[in-house]
Symmetry: C2
Subunit: 331 residues, 2 copies
DNA sequence: AATTCTTTCGAAAACCTTTTCGTGAAATCC
DNA sequence: GGATTTCACGAAAAGGTTTTCGAAAGAATT
């Protein structure tokens, strides 16, 4: 394997000079720069990243911390979408993305061992001692769903989204609008519930506690279970705003099994706009989260933090109502 | 930050000795070993991985190569499941997992820059020049869906699975069984089609070309489109075996939109057993791929390859038929 | 008592970059 | 034409670990 010293020898310069052109410093003449670049190209020289990291004290690695908390993780469309956009952005700046698991020695230590330059905490349990140790350390972090102290947070405008959902249902004539809330230990769960209440208030509708049930997790089974409870009410709702699409699919299943027709007897609105939302029957009305934008801004924010620039603590991205077939005007 | 020299000084030994206990070599007395370990623990010493990598020429990093080829990628339940199991296994052995994107400089070069010890090619386009360069290099690879030369391949027994699907439908009395095949450029697409044909042959049913349509991608839309074509046939099939669950959901949607009832008028069998399969309406009969086992064996195989042990070129894991509500006896 | 063998440890080289600071030459200024 | 600045580059240190090989001391063997 050819190293920087070989290149230097071939070009008749010192390693310092080669290093400078490789990191395009200005203090080297155009002529030698071209000459060196040509040689580098010809012999296919690849800098040793370990040596580089050792010297610069930067690993050019960004850690992804996540655990399958609340049953959301990489398998969830939202997170994989955000992660994809995040990855694309940081890669364009020369960073690579590495998974950090908390197993055995804890997140913080793992980050230190790998010497990551920053970390993206995707989804995790804030009650986890180990996670808090990481967030409290001086490693630069960024997150999209766990609010903690002044860790920058980039996420959807949950309140506004929920508001749009309720308005949509109200416009269709619904009055008995239920809400299947997410776990209220999560910020998304809380805020979406808030938006729902605000929507009702706006429409002059009373807040009926019996129409709100809290799901244990962000998954289909929870939606199914919650809907079951709603259907046992003396007077069932005519519409349900569900905290996420996955749960909404469970709701759809439940309604169907009761021989009712979704989008006719009962309207359903989800949240996320997972890919499947458009492809199930009936296609799901939902709030689209702008995963691409969130991931990109998350990346930019983290990079800024890594450069010790100041950043906003909270960036909120609007959602968009996507009307499909699971909602309809009440008869 | 305390380094190995500080530890050595504190323990009154040389760095060599400290290094040896840290990598538990035998040639150091039990007494000093304990003494050093105690100090390491007390001061929370963390070895510098860059220096380590530089010295050992191993990065302890395993690359994940994937592109959103054929619309399958991290968002696909199969791959995220396999990846999760893979990750768990290699992490337990001290490796971390890093994403490798082919953008800009190509997979091979990116792997070389990061100096990965091995790579898991998750899903990618084998016609991609850059990917072939990687697979042809002397970097140790392993894969679950792209057969190429002697790169070890661990995956489901597609033929057996398809056979089970067809047998199941035959047992329910179906005779006109259609198949929505995956892209035949993929090994899964080919083998599942093979299994389907074998199943028909076994049951003494003729192979009817008009009952087989090839999907463009492994997604819901493709399933939807294919089913549309099948329903335009003069005599529609009574059962459809679909190459994957995602497409099967598209099929379900299509059938429903034609005011037919899935699991009554037309039976549907998927492949994968994605998480949602059990939670949609009707719950999907499908072939479960053993993602955990595949991921684990993939990891073990790669590690062996990295240690220059010989491994089997092809390891096939059985699938399991999961009967739910989308299939029923024909009237 | 002399020799050999083991055990335990250390000195120092090696791994490959980056970066600081100094130097000489050329260009610019009064 | 002398003083000053700018430019282009290099010598060498620094970064933290692993590993080889040799040395010393103690144990075992003749």
């Amino acid at each position: 394997m050819v190293d920087i010293r070989d290149i230097a020898k071939m070009a008749g310069v010192s390693t310092a000079t080669v290093s400078k052109v490789l990191n395009n410093y200005s203090e080297v003449s155009e002529a030698t720069k071209i000459r060196i670049l040509k040689i580098v190209e010809e012999v296919g020289y690849i800098p040793n990243s370990s040596a580089r990291a050792l010297s610069t004290k930067r690993s050019w690695l960004i850690g992804i911390v996540y655990s399958e908390h609340l049953h959301i993780g990489l398998e969830h469309n939202y997170f994989s979408g955000v992660l994809e956009a995040f990855k694309r952005k940081v890669e364009s700046l020369g960073y690579d993305v590495v998974f950090i698991s908390g197993k055995d020695i804890g997140y913080l230590k793992r980050c230190q061992v790998r010497n990551v330059d920053g970390v993206f905490v995707v989804t995790a349990d804030i009650t986890d001692e180990g996670l808090r140790a990481l967030l409290d350390s001086d490693i630069k972090c960024v997150t999209t769903d766990v609010p903690y102290k002044s860790i920058p947070l980039v996420y959807s405008d949950n309140r506004q989204g929920s508001l749009l959902a309720v308005r949509h249902l109200v416009e269709l004539g619904h009055r008995r609008i239920a809400h299947i809330a997410g776990p209220l230990s999560s910020i998304a769960g809380q805020e979406r519930l808030d938006g729902y209440r605000q929507g009702l208030a706006e429409a002059g509708l009373p807040y009926d506690e019996s129409l709100v049930v809290e799901a244990g997790e962000y998954d289909a089974q929870s939606g199914y279970d919650c809907m079951n409870r709603l259907l046992q009410l003396p007077q069932a709702p005519t519409a349900v705003f569900v905290v996420c699409d996955l749960s909404a699919l469970g709701v759809v299943r439940c309604i169907s099994e009761h021989n009712l027709v979704v989008g006719k007897d009962i309207s359903v609105v989800g949240f996320d706009d997972i890919e499947l939302a458009a492809h199930v029957h009936p296609a799901l009305t939902t709030l689209r989260q702008d995963r691409k934008t969130i991931g990109k801004i998350l990346a930019e924010t983290l990079i800024k933090r890594m450069n010790n620039e100041t950043v906003e603590e909270k960036i909120v991205i609007p959602t968009k109502l996507i009307v499909r077939d699971s909602t309809s005007r009440i008869d």
